[in-house]
Symmetry: C2
Subunit: 235 residues, 2 copies
């Protein structure tokens, strides 16, 4: 992790500037947030001239895209880990990934905002796209499992445009909206007035893991009980 990203390998040639820039960028994001984020500042921390990163990332957008890709990967890993733990402990899988999602947002809010914050990213970037598809695929898979559907194994690697089986789209959007909405509101300070009250942020998180997950699961289970009027075969 090389905390702070202030490593400087050799003299003229850095050695691993790409990684050093990413480390520095995340340090800056953690310290100053998206607003105070600057390419020159990152280069400074990496011990390198302002123009050096261009060769590795093209431009600022390229650096942000690389970070966003990491963010998606972290999200996917955290959700899969949450599922694994849920399976081990008997906890609900869907609730587990929703809590994992929030935890990632809280752990690295800067990186999370790069992923979802509408700073420009390289929209065509293949790696970014793949990472996003993977993360979304986990959410789709778990929602479908919670609905009792048969899930194709390759749901994880399919392109977004081929989620053509819209059977459970409403439930998927429902789950994702709650999870993403609560996470963004919390890290973006929309709930700050509520955090001022006794119990603070922990109380809100407990409410999310507790009552909100109960309501979410109940809503999804209600969908299970009343399946489609015109069932669509899938597979």
């Amino acid at each position: 992790m090389t905390a702070g990203g202030v490593i400087k390998r050799g003299g003229y040639h850095h050695g691993d500037l790409r990684q050093a820039m990413i480390d520095a960028a995340e340090a800056v994001l953690a310290e100053k947030g998206v607003g105070g984020f600057t390419l020159r500042e990152c280069a400074r921390r990496a011990g390198v001239s302002p123009a050096a990163p261009a060769h590795h990332f093209g431009n600022l957008v390229g650096l942000l895209t690389a970070i966003a890709t990491l963010g998606f990967d972290q999200l996917s890993d955290a959700m899969e880990a949450a599922v694994a733990e849920a399976v081990a402990t008997g906890k609900d899988r869907l609730a587990a990934i929703c809590e994992g999602y929030l935890e990632v947002a809280l752990t690295r809010p800067g990186r999370f905002r790069v992923v979802f914050g509408r700073l420009g990213l390289k929209s065509g970037d293949a790696e970014l796209r793949a990472a996003g598809v993977r993360a979304f695929g986990i959410l789709v898979r778990e929602t479908k499992l919670a609905l009792g559907r048969q899930v194709d194994v390759d749901v994880l690697t399919r392109l977004p445009s081929s989620y053509g089986d819209d059977t459970d789209l409403a439930e998927i959007l429902f789950v994702w909206s709650i999870t993403h909405g609560f996470s963004t509101m919390l890290i973006d300070g929309q709930l700050a007035p509520l955090e001022m009250q006794p119990g603070g942020r922990e109380r809100l998180i407990a409410l999310y893991s507790g009552r909100l997950m109960e309501m979410l699961l109940a809503a999804v289970r209600a969908s299970t009980a009343m399946p489609l009027a015109n069932p669509v075969s899938h597979g």
Copy 2:
């Protein structure tokens, strides 16, 4: 509205630079989004030097704060209008404000992002605070009404720190998370892959107004059916 905000009243003195700057700012936000937003560009459109706005807004943050205040007001107005229409047509009030919320986000995504996008705002600003409290108060009021609670009339003007009656906080957060989450994901392009599919954005909006609202209302009604174990008196 003075579309574009390119009015120029007199010669040296503008006449109503404050409003002209806000108009120009919103035009820029609509055209280029938050990324391409610049104080100098707004000043240019208002036909004024880059340093002129300082007297009215202090700095860039001040301008954004003024816009955010407008955004909260618009949100409140839209939600109240939605309630009024719902009362007239017999539609559900809570679903109405949730749909009004989304509609505001879709109509003015730039302004919406200024309100919620974690660009720095003047956190201490009294007007911004009041506007935010009003908007949040409407959401609180309608959620409580949907839960069958008796709602104090002055819930709208109370400071956030005195929403101390936490009785229905989970339901409030639940409703707000879905509404805010779906709205932000849609305008920030997270659902873009889904918009590519036949039906496009309209299909997603219909799903939101339809199935998602059904699920949301069902979840809230389920809370009504099973009230608190230890009811807390309020009032």
